[in-house]
Symmetry: C2
Subunit: 190 residues, 2 copies
């Protein structure tokens, strides 16, 4: 997706160790118009997937997932990292290692919003090692729901997550794919 | 705003102690179409406020703020509750008591996205005691930026936050106002 790639070229910063700083338009400051365009792109890519609900993880997955949900007229559920007092005691719960934080992140979803048999599309900001997305996949499986697709704004293909996700046999779409961040550069493969 | 009030009547639950459960359409599952309509309502209410940026707090302020930003063509900054590794060492920082969690919440904003002199519109999901929004106000003041308005999806007027915010001399708009949650009921004043 050219407009997203252009923005990464203009404003993204390679902080080393595979960490891409995009906090001027995705994950601290957000450009709503750009996210709207990304949501429209996801809606085109997944127009035939039959999803009845979108699942993402707080925090930075929320903006692209909500814009995709708007274009697809689907509700969006975001996995919580802490259990709010308004959530029932019985929840779907898993932990996933966080690449950028170096710790384990909890992912919590209320069974109310993940009914058995539901067709779920996962949307997130990054596809890197795949660990957060695989955490969401485990929750979908625990709920007896059906995963129908995975979409990410930015893939870092050198971290290998795609191989793990493609084994699930569903479409995995990234709007922009970064193939290398060696030597302070940012190289794209699509 | 009738469509939001109708949704609270249909799906909101009064959990007691002033806690309103709206996790089927605002803060765990999100209805993107409803949030889009709320964003359009904020854009109408604040059409002459001159804002150049929107500030909100993660997590549940993100959806309404992004939709308002889309309709107003403004960037949205969300205060982080933990400092990510991509954020500079020097930040704006404050703490605010969390009514629903019973602890203190940290609010952290990078100076990169809150320049001196900038005109800031605050958008959040709830206006209750006002403590989170007042935390955002302190950050705006610390940055030397100018607060031009405050918008919330749902006000709980019986918690008194409006009085504290109106002292700031700027418009305070809630799309729906709940005047009482006594005796398990939800009573509206607009």
């Amino acid at each position: 997706m050219q407009v997203l790639k252009d923005r990464i070229v203009q404003e993204g910063r390679n902080l080393g160790k595979g960490i891409l700083k995009v906090d001027s338009f995705i994950n601290h400051q957000v450009d709503p118009g750009l996210m709207d365009a990304c949501g429209a792109a996801f809606a085109r890519e997944f127009s035939t997937c039959g999803a009845s609900r979108i699942l993402t993880a707080e925090i930075s997955g929320i903006a692209p997932a909500i814009m995709a949900g708007k274009h697809m007229s689907l509700p969006v559920v975001y996995a919580r990292k802490t259990k709010p007092i308004t959530m029932p005691d019985q929840v779907y719960f898993t932990v996933a290692p966080s690449h950028t934080k170096g710790n384990m992140v909890e992912l919590i979803v209320s069974p109310d919003f993940l009914p058995r048999g539901e067709k779920i599309l996962i949307i997130d900001d990054f596809l890197a090692s795949g660990s957060t997305i695989l955490g969401l996949v485990r929750i979908i499986q625990a709920a007896g729901a059906e995963l129908v697709g995975i979409g990410a704004l930015i893939e870092k293909s050198f971290e290998g997550g795609r191989k793990l996700l493609e084994a699930l046999g569903i479409p995995v779409i990234s709007l922009v794919c970064i193939s290398s961040m060696d030597d302070g550069k940012i190289e794209f493969s699509n």
